[in-house]
């Protein structure tokens, strides 16, 4: 048992076998199905985030890897081996909880050494590894302290050290930052990412905070009601949301329903329900109902260069120094949000303004809320759930 954990981690380059693989798993609590037909392959050494609203099944999936909940269908493999019948204590997994879960009656040393002790690591080796792990989480010399003598952030670092010290196959983190205050959260975010890179460990991170997901992940899995909505790099998920849900959940995009009025094969004109028209680079049959998705950050207000134009009346203005956020009524009861850099005077409430956005900056959704993959240069692997993910090149 000990030797497999003691060998140094093999180079991840050229490794094709996924670190963790879900194949069509479903998980039910009694008659309630929390996760449905979930498939995902996670490449070795990557940082994958499960992102979604509360109750969508993120924790459930994470716990199924650890063996803390039983799957009712499908299979899970860790390092290429099926783990359905492997009990939790043999799965070689590092777990970090939202509420730290440090053993309150054991000091920092004994907490961190716990996993090594049960892997029959010799004592001097344990001492060396614990010291190294504490060094890594920047809390050297804290061995004798009890968890109750540490701050929340420090406790979470110790929990992290405890979870990585025995070099587990996968590191599972369930909202590890949400119990910390805002400043600490940002600091820990950077730190966790740094440690993950340094150790090359495969990490699966659960959060409902989109900022955390966007800033830390190689791949983001957006979930909704027990299903995967989209998987992709942070850019892909943000720039090319596969569904209306993703567009709305990540960054509250503007959704403008409309109907295709004319198309010449390369450009399509859409008549918005708001009464104005926009044109996009796509070929769509006239009469088709679509939704145009535009991020508030992609809209410019005031001095308008080119692209699609809309006019509207400013309902509210939030001045944020470098930026301003406008709520603009474009008619037909539609209000859109624009978050723009300020150049020139800030538009006042009640003022009529021009809005513009690039045709390439919007995404089209069909009547089922699925993205219509037509915009050139925006091909992405959205909804390719079986695709193997790989660490983002930097």
């Amino acid at each position: 048992m000990a030797d497999t954990n003691q060998t140094p981690r093999p180079e991840t380059a050229g490794e094709t076998r996924p670190a963790v693989e879900f194949r069509d798993i479903s998980i039910a609590y009694g008659s309630f199905v929390a996760v449905r037909d979930f498939s995902l392959a996670i490449a070795k050494g990557s940082f994958v985030t499960l992102l979604g609203p509360s109750g969508c099944g993120k924790t459930t999936i994470l716990r199924s890897i650890a063996g803390l909940v039983d799957i009712s269908a499908g299979q899970i493999s860790i390092g290429g081996k099926r783990v359905d019948d492997v009990p939790i204590y043999k799965r070689n997994i590092g777990l970090v909880f939202q509420s730290y879960a440090l053993f309150p009656h054991k000091n920092v040393f004994d907490n961190v050494a716990f996993g090594l002790k049960y892997r029959n690591v010799p004592k001097p080796e344990i001492a060396r590894k614990v010291a190294q792990a504490l060094e890594m989480v920047r809390l050297p010399g804290s061995e004798r302290k009890l968890p109750s003598q540490l701050s929340g952030g420090q406790q979470q670092r110790i929990a992290l050290a405890r979870a990585i010290v025995f070099e587990p196959e996968v590191l599972l983190l369930d909202e590890p930052l949400s119990a910390l205050d805002a400043n600490m959260r940002e600091e820990m975010r950077v730190e966790i990412k740094k440690i993950q890179k340094a150790t090359g460990i495969t990490a699966i991170f659960v959060t409902h905070d989109q900022e955390e997901a966007l800033s830390m992940s190689d791949q983001i899995v957006v979930m909704n009601a027990g299903r995967m909505e989209q998987i992709g790099s942070p850019e892909q998920v943000y720039e090319a949301p596969a569904t209306g849900f993703v567009a709305d959940f990540l960054g509250k995009a503007n959704m403008l329903p409309g109907i295709v009025s004319s198309s010449d094969g390369a450009r399509t004109t859409i008549a918005l329900a708001a009464g104005q028209t926009v044109s996009v680079a796509a070929a769509l049959p006239p009469g088709r109902a679509v939704t145009v998705v535009v991020r508030p950050q992609k809209l410019s207000v005031g001095a308008v260069p080119s692209g699609n134009r809309l006019t509207g009346r400013v309902v509210s203005t939030s001045y944020l120094g470098g930026n301003a956020i406008y709520e603009i009524d474009i008619g037909g009861g539609t209000t859109i949000r624009a978050n723009t850099q300020i150049s020139g005077p800030v538009a006042a409430e009640g003022q009529t303004v021009e809005l513009a956005f690039d045709a390439a900056a919007c995404v089209l959704l069909d009547e089922h809320g699925q993205r219509i993959p037509v915009l050139p240069g925006r091909q992405s692997n959205a909804k390719t759930s079986s695709a193997s993910t790989s660490p983002r090149q930097q």
């Binding site: 650890a66 803390l68 009990p87 939790i88 204590y89 043999k90 799965r91 070689n92 997994i93 590092g94 777990l95 909880f97 509420s99 879960a101 053993f103 309150p104 009656h105 000091n107 040393f109 004994d110 716990f114 996993g115 049960y118 892997r119 061995e143 004798r144 009890l146 405890r162 979870a163 025995f166």
Partner: protein, 278 residues
């Protein structure tokens, strides 16, 4: 005007509450104090006035074979009861808090029931049951009865503590490579220890000074301390009984006290050890 009157009334009510409380405490503790004081009385009669200070009643107790035998019996019964009850109570409380199983509510109710049923009824009931299956009253059956009586308290105490020990400690230990048994031994049990010790001490005390149930269940010729005192009282109120009462008080109050102190110093020592070791 009214506020002022309300105020004086309030003050009066407080004073009355104080006086009544004092009376209750005097009523509760005066007999105990009297027993302890009178056990050192030199007089032949077990009452006031004191005629001098002496240990003669203790010396006499020491020579009373019957009393010594009863003391030994009670001590053994209490020790066995405490040990067995603590073990069963620990497992039961653990199962009740951590696992879902059919009949959980029923088990929970059954375990607590002896604490709710009047002891006399329980005593008669068990006696009738023993008679019904035509068994003689034996010492093991007496111990069994005591276990039944003490179990609810141990389960309630351990359960209360168990609820406070979050499951994620166990989950963390398992994820780190400990088996369920190892996790219980190294994580859950140490966190439970205060409740386990408290439960054991309470079980000991409940058994040691149980009177009514023991009266029903003891085999012929066997006396426990409380039944011994009762039978001595039937003859006369000898000052020896005061001495015996004092010994009982010492045991039932002293043992939990000593247990608590030992536990506290143990955990303090352990903490110091940990700090030195690493």
């Amino acid at each position: 005007m009214t506020a002022r009157r309300g105020n004086t009334e309030g003050r009066l009510a407080w004073r009355m509450t104080g006086i009544i409380t004092l009376c209750v405490y005097i009523f509760l503790f005066a007999p105990i104090v009297a027993t302890v004081v009178l056990s050192f009385n030199d007089s032949m009669f077990g009452g006031f006035p004191m005629t001098g200070f002496s240990f003669r009643w203790y010396a006499k107790l020491w020579e009373n074979e019957q009393v010594l035998a009863a003391f030994q019996t009670s001590l053994w019964i209490a020790l066995v009861t405490a040990t067995v009850t603590t073990a069963i109570g620990l497992v039961t409380a653990f199962a009740l808090v951590r696992f879902e199983f059919a009949g959980k509510e029923l088990l929970s109710t059954l375990v607590i029931l002896p604490a709710l049923v009047p002891e006399t009824i329980l005593g008669v009931g068990l006696l009738v049951a023993i008679k019904a299956v035509d068994q003689p009253r034996t010492l093991p059956l007496l111990v069994l009865g005591h276990i039944l009586l003490a179990l609810p308290y141990v389960v309630l105490i351990v359960q209360a503590r168990m609820v406070g020990i979050r499951r994620i400690y166990d989950e963390a230990a398992l994820s780190l490579g400990a088996t369920r048994l190892q996790s219980f031994r190294e994580i859950t049990l140490p966190l439970l220890i205060p409740a386990v010790v408290a439960g054991a001490l309470l079980a000991f005390t409940i058994s040691f000074d149980n009177t009514s149930a023991s009266l029903f269940w003891r085999p012929a010729g066997v006396e426990t301390m409380p039944t011994q005192i009762l039978s001595m009282l039937k003859i006369s109120i000898s000052p020896e009984i005061n001495a015996l009462g004092t010994v009982m008080i010492l045991v039932t109050v002293g043992i939990p006290l000593v247990g608590g102190i030992v536990l506290q110093s143990l955990s303090r020592m352990k903490r110091r050890d940990q700090q030195r070791e690493t």
